[in-house]
Amino acid sequence: MNRFWANLKRNYEQGRISPILLVGLAILLAIVLFGAIGPLFVDQVNANVGAVRPRKPPGGDYFLGTDSQGRDMWTLLIYATPNTLKMGLIAGFVGVGVGAVLGLIAGQFGGWIDGIIRVISDSLLTVPAIAILVIIAGNIDRMSTFVMALVVASLGWMFTARTVRAQVLTIREKAYVEVARVNGEGPWEILFKEVMPNLMPYIVASFVGTVSGSILAVIGLEALGLGALEEMTLGNTIYWSQQSSAVLRGYWWWWAPPIVVIALIFIGLFLTSVGFDRFANPRLARR
Amino acid sequence: MAVDMAQKPILVVKDLNVHYDTGKGPAKAVSDVSFALRPGERLGLIGESGSGKTTMATALMRLTKPPGRIVSGSVELDGQDLLQLSDKELREVRLRDIALMPQGAMSSLNPVMRLEEQMIDAIVAHKPGMKRAELDTRVQQLLQQVGLAPEVARRYPHELSGGMKQRAAMAIATSLSPKVIVADEPTSALDVVVQRQVMQTLGRLQDGLGAAVVLIGHDMGLIAQFADTVGVMYAGKIVEIGPVRAMIESPKHPYTKLLVESLPGIEVKQALVGIPGLPPPLVNLPPGCPFNPRCPFAFERCVRETPLLQQVALGQAAACHLYPEHSELPPLPARAGRELQA
């Protein structure tokens, strides 16, 4: 364990762990904590419909005001944020996981396997995702956040697959892979020890992109009313605010907070991705 | 290789300083470099990597890119200081009066353009009025001068061999008959036979144009066979400069002497010795002679005081504290064992 902290300290001093990375991670951590610890400070009952007095602006008992259905916005936000994050993360992991595996297989084995994977991913890339997702989501009877995440992931793996495949093809030709062979490393060892670490920047970048894109897709679908409407999510909140013409009526405390949280999530993801590149590629580290 | 030493120099570099801004302070890549070149003269600048030679090549035409910047000095081409010109004026001077064959010139060719288009591009940028027929003639003329067949004009770079690409780069560089050609390691990736052919072509071209050549490299043999004058660069400074014969047969600076002595030949097997140690970092260079940690003749003054370039023999100048008290370098001490290096 001591080695871990010593390595961490050395990495920081060498500039591999940059302020950008730390700020990005801090933002994400803050948002996660917001959703994780927040419930300890509020009563979930207040987020239910009709729990409190409706249409109250921020102030007094209600930190962020209430919506026209009698829900406390602050409590709602605390419960909605982790749900949205969850969907983004599930879609991100599934999308990147499936994409990375397919990309690795296509790049490593080539031939007809590569051909099939490429044809499928290339065709799906040209498809207008929102249109398909609307059709799929509209046809599902029992929507839940988990199912929503899977729906979005179904069209979120292609970019990762293509990126990973291209990188595997490049890395396989590198001289250091040959050196690994003469050093006695077996093919699986080469895949995990030599190829994968150099794939990490691309996978992390894909992950960030996939999570961001998934959250956007999820919010888009929810804003259209295709989400799991009983659940508390940021997108659903936007939907309900639209249904009640919150913008026209000036209830800014209903539609603005979810947007602010969404923006912070994206900023955190972006900074983390940029900062991670410095870690994975030591040549970029500067002190 | 005929140089008329009585002629006025065509290129005069005075006290040129180029720094790279690093996080830890400026790296003095080129420090107070001065030399003069006459028309038709071939100057070979030799140095290891990190000696500043490529930085100097680009600085001559103010092509230095950030974080590098030209701090002070002058580069006078035919009386005009290139460093003082406006961007527009300098663009006209480049290629027309002074041309660069950059390191890896082969990969500086645009891979998606045919050769003739690239050559025409270069010419038209300076002479916009030329008609297509005139341009085609000129392209053929240039190809013939560098020994390439006429049909090469229609080819793409990837269809040419390394030597052919280098000659194409030479054709582009000489397309406007410049007065000075700066060739930065023009033969680094080529094998011995092609290297000789390319260098002989360059020599012929240069004689035809009456141009001067600055050849930058690290191969003393190549420079000896091609150049009239040799300048040795170390840690951004010229530490010795003089006629090639004198530099090879009686080098005055210890670094030059070590370089020459370490060159193997093909007559006799000898012990292969390099120069132990590494060149100094160019940031926060300590005072004194930059070569002193590796110099077998170093003494107390060398650590304190930076030596200036001074005349030590006819036409030969060296920056070393052994002169003018001594007139020759003592023989190298025998080296026992191998020292550990970083």
């Binding site: 590198k174 001289a175 250091y176 040959e178 050196v179 690994a180 062979r181 003469v182 050093n183 006695g184 490393e185 030599e194 670490p197 150099n198 990490m200 590629n281 030591p282 040549r283 | 290891e48 990597s49 390394g162 094998d191 011995v192 036979v193 092609v194 290297q195 000789r196 260098m199 690290h218 191969d219 003393m220 043999g221 190549l222 000896a224 066979q225 091609f226 090639v244 014969r245 090879i248 047969e249 370089l259 370490s262 060159l263 193997p264 030949g265 093909i266 007559e267 097997k269 000898q270 012990a271 292969l272 010795v273 390099g274 120069i275 132990p276 191998r338 020292e339 550990l340 290096q341 970083a342």
Partner: protein, 337 residues
């Protein structure tokens, strides 16, 4: 003489392009030798090196290590082969995985080949290897590849090869991308490894000067065939094949009394288009005769320790052995001071 590594009638084709054409070369087990394989790009020297390292298989012919065909080795045999035959590659940067510190290329073989049973022993082994190539362990270990110079990186690669105490090191242009003043040092280290540790070295290069300095024998390849082979004093000192003569005379020597220049005829269109069943060098050869276009010349032996595949020497005896190494001279007994 038992064979350490043997390439017999090896041919390698890539589609219609023949990279190597019927080359036979044997390196003996008896005395550790230093052999140069020289040629320009396209000569097939790198192809031959990669075959010796077991990276590619021949289209025809066979490459055997200690009598076993490398192409059909079992994984266990391949592992033992890898232990004994190690490369040093040309590019000192690409050979390092940028994700790891340079220690990675040194600790991996120690682990994979079981060279040490405790961490302390492994560390000692690595430090010893680094010191052997003139590097200070405390300045090298823990660094990333981009923090070291090209020369230092190349020395780490040599140290890596030495760790395993191989029988043979195949060095493919090990110093062509290294600074001139460091080349001598690194090559001298290779020579020391040969003399002190008994490691045979195959030195692939286009630089005949260094080949002359450190090697005993040399094979000059031209477009996949052997043009000339034998003792370096003969082949480089007094080349007989017109191609070797062209190569040697093109070397820029710092000796001003020897101007460089080579006898070569430019390839005319007629020559380039002419169908050639004979000597591959015919279109460029200043001494070409009609018979050169008809049949490929056999391996003549104009001297005891040299063979030249050229009809100029048709009065000399033909080499009885297809193996070009049969004309090699043994390594010099005394180390060069």
């Amino acid at each position: 003489m038992s064979a350490l590594i043997e390439a017999r009638g090896v041919t390698k084709r890539y589609g219609s392009f023949t990279a190597l054409d019927d080359v036979t070369l044997t390196l003996s087990d008896s005395a550790p030798s230093m052999t140069a394989i020289a040629g320009e790009s396209g000569s097939g020297k790198t192809t031959l090196a990669r075959m010796m390292l077991g990276f590619i298989d021949p289209s025809d012919g066979v490459v055997e290590y200690r009598g076993k065909n490398i192409a059909t080795m079992t994984p266990a045999e391949k592992q033992a082969f890898r232990r004994e035959v190690q490369p040093v590659f040309q590019d000192p940067f690409e050979v390092f995985n940028p994700f790891y510190r340079v220690d990675h290329v040194l600790t991996t073989p120690v682990k994979r080949f079981g060279l040490a049973d405790t961490e302390a022993k492994a560390q000692a082994l690595i430090e010893d290897a680094l010191k052997r190539v003139g590097l200070r362990p405390q300045d090298t270990l823990g660094r990333f590849p981009h923090e070291l110079s090209g020369g230092q990186r190349q020395r780490v690669m040599v140290a890596r090869a030495v760790l395993l105490r191989p029988k043979l090191i195949v060095a493919d242009e090990p110093v062509s991308m290294v600074d001139a003043s460091l080349r001598a040092t690194i090559l001298d280290e290779l020579r020391t490894l040969n003399q002190e540790l008994g490691i045979s070295i195959v030195y692939i290069t286009h630089d005949l000067t260094t080949a002359f300095q450190i090697c005993d024998n040399i094979v000059v390849l031209y477009r996949g065939t052997v043009a000339e082979a034998g003792a370096v004093e003969q082949v480089i000192g007094a080349p007989k094949h017109p191609y070797s003569q062209l190569l040697v005379s093109s070397i820029p020597l710092p000796d001003l009394s020897k101007a460089w220049g080579g006898e070569e005829i430019p390839v005319t269109e007629a020559n380039a288009a002419r169908p050639n069943d004979g000597c591959k060098f015919a279109p460029r050869c200043p001494h070409v005769m009609e018979m050169c276009w008809q049949n490929p010349p056999p391996k003549y032996m104009p001297d005891a320790q040299r063979l030249a595949t050229c009809f100029l020497y048709r009065d000399a005896p033909v080499s009885p052995d297809a193996d070009v190494a049969s004309v090699f001279r043994p390594p010099l007994a005394a180390p060069v001071s």
